[in-house]
């Protein structure tokens, strides 16, 4: 397993605002970073929960949206060439015999570094699962929350649940492949691109797809194979069984602490206690910044995450460059820092 491991200076778990800004502060101290996030794009909560909503309390930025903040952070850290491993869940954190930290993901990526920064926010984003009895038995064989391969659904009677863009996009995308698609949504109104809604409605009108307005209440199957799902129709109360071979459920994502609980850190109400001079955890070389940490007076703000990143980087420097002395400098006046940022004096403004 260690054969294919990547060695770097710092592994950052979570690519939300805390993880992203950490790249900047670490980069000023010549520390190279790899970031891992289960989401398929950087930005954490800002990207997933409120890309279009305004943020008013970023110092010196009177207004920006969640996605603008993410874009600006990415621009700011670009000079440091961070490596992203997206769509992957960090599952293990262990110490190597050489005294490095080793981070392993569910996709088999192995990263080793003297410093790990846990910037896991509210936990990893995972699909919301409908509270249906026996759901787990079907997961991976006939119940899915994402499409990994379209071929899985060829010739299948497919139930797609949800009323947003994912549900609509996949209903349209898989329509030519599947034997029959039934879209199930709790109300006859969809929060999705108007164009997709129109296409879906046209298919339904032409009998190319079924639309059922109601709620899933139970699953039926043989072994791990789904055979049908009960739905209570919004229009009445007698449940109907919809025969199907597979269910794709798109109810959005939620944050679950997940594997962070197994990193060997003692958690306090699901949060990682840190000391506030460097935001190091009880494990030497493992830091926790942003929403995931806790200390007296903690406020879950992006502002706090930025501050924590700066102090963390100073201590991380001692682990990554034990032979060097940390030098405090301003980006305004240090030609050394400006060189790292790829600017020469005066060109940044």
């Amino acid at each position: 397993m260690a054969d294919s491991s990547l060695r770097t200076d710092v592994v950052i778990i979570g690519a939300g605002p805390a993880g992203l800004f950490a790249v900047f502060e670490l980069g000023l101290g010549d520390m190279k970073c790899h970031l891992v996030d289960i989401l398929d794009r950087p930005g954490g909560q800002c990207a997933e929960l409120y890309p279009e909503k305004p943020i008013y309390d970023i110092p010196a930025v009177p207004l920006c949206t969640g996605s603008e903040l993410t874009a600006r952070l990415l621009e700011q850290i670009h000079p440091f060439g961070p490596m992203f491993h997206l769509g992957q869940m960090v599952e293990h954190l262990e110490k190597t015999p050489e005294g490095l930290w080793c981070v392993t993901t569910n996709l088999g990526t192995v990263l080793e570094a003297p410093v790990v920064v846990v910037a896991a926010g509210g936990g990893s984003f995972v699909p919301k699962k409908p509270p249906l009895k026996g759901l787990e038995t079907f997961e991976g064989t006939s119940v899915f929350y994402a499409v990994r391969s379209r071929e899985t659904f060829r010739g299948k009677r497919l139930l797609i649940a949800g009323g947003g863009d994912s549900a609509l996009d996949w209903a349209l995308n898989l329509h030519p492949l599947a034997e029959r698609i039934t879209l199930v949504h709790r109300r006859d109104d969809f929060r999705a691109a108007p164009d997709s809604v129109a296409k879906m409605r046209a298919l339904v009108a032409a009998d190319g797809m079924d639309l059922v307005i109601g709620n899933l209440t139970a699953l039926e199957g043989e072994g791990d194979r789904l055979t049908g799902a009960s739905v209570t129709l919004a229009s009445g109360n007698t449940p109907t069984v919809l025969p199907c071979d597979a269910l794709l459920a798109f109810y959005g994502l939620t944050m679950k602490l997940g594997p962070v609980a197994n990193f060997g850190l003692t958690l306090h109400e699901g949060l990682i206690p840190v000391e506030t001079a460097s935001f190091e955890t009880a494990l030497a070389g493992v830091f926790a910044i942003g929403d995931i940490n806790t200390y007296p007076g903690k406020m879950k703000l992006i502002l706090s995450a930025f501050h924590e990143a700066a102090l963390m980087a100073k201590k991380a420097f001692a682990y990554v460059h034990p032979d060097r002395r940390y030098r405090f400098q301003y980006t305004t006046s240090s030609s050394d820092l400006q060189h790292k940022l790829g600017v020469t004096e005066g060109t940044a403004g």
Binding site: Q45, L49, Y50, K53, G122, K128, P130, P131, G162, G163, G164, H185, R186, R187, D189, R191, N215, Y251, G252, T254, M255, K300
Partner: protein, 104 residues
């Protein structure tokens, strides 16, 4: 002023209510578990509650955003609301709500 909130075990708690606060904040301040992952931004649906039918008429209708956000939770009924979108006024003194499964 108070809000009465029934937890998943069926126990009803009397919670101190403050004018202008959202019902989600009142529940959280009252020490009951409520996920409210997005902190009241109508972006997570983990503050789903059921409003006692006798109180429904006294509440303003949910806006489009709240209705759409309810798509992201389960076991939604005609009494379902997002607690972060319900703002407490003296007229709501005595409001009765129950936590939904997805919110704790």
């Amino acid at each position: 002023m108070h809000v009465y909130c029934t937890d998943l075990e069926g126990t009803t708690h009397e919670l101190l209510a403050t004018e202008g606060w959202s019902v989600m904040e009142i529940i959280r301040e009252g020490g009951l578990p409520i996920l409210a992952q997005c902190g009241g931004s109508c972006a997570c649906a983990t503050c789903h509650v059921y409003v006692d039918p006798s109180w429904k008429a006294k509440l303003p209708e949910p806006n489009e955003e709240e209705v759409a956000m309810l798509d992201g939770t389960f076991e939604v009924t005609a009494d379902s609301r997002l607690a972060c979108q319900l703002f407490f006024t003296p007229a709501l003194d005595g409001l009765r709500i129950a936590l939904a499964k997805g919110s704790v």
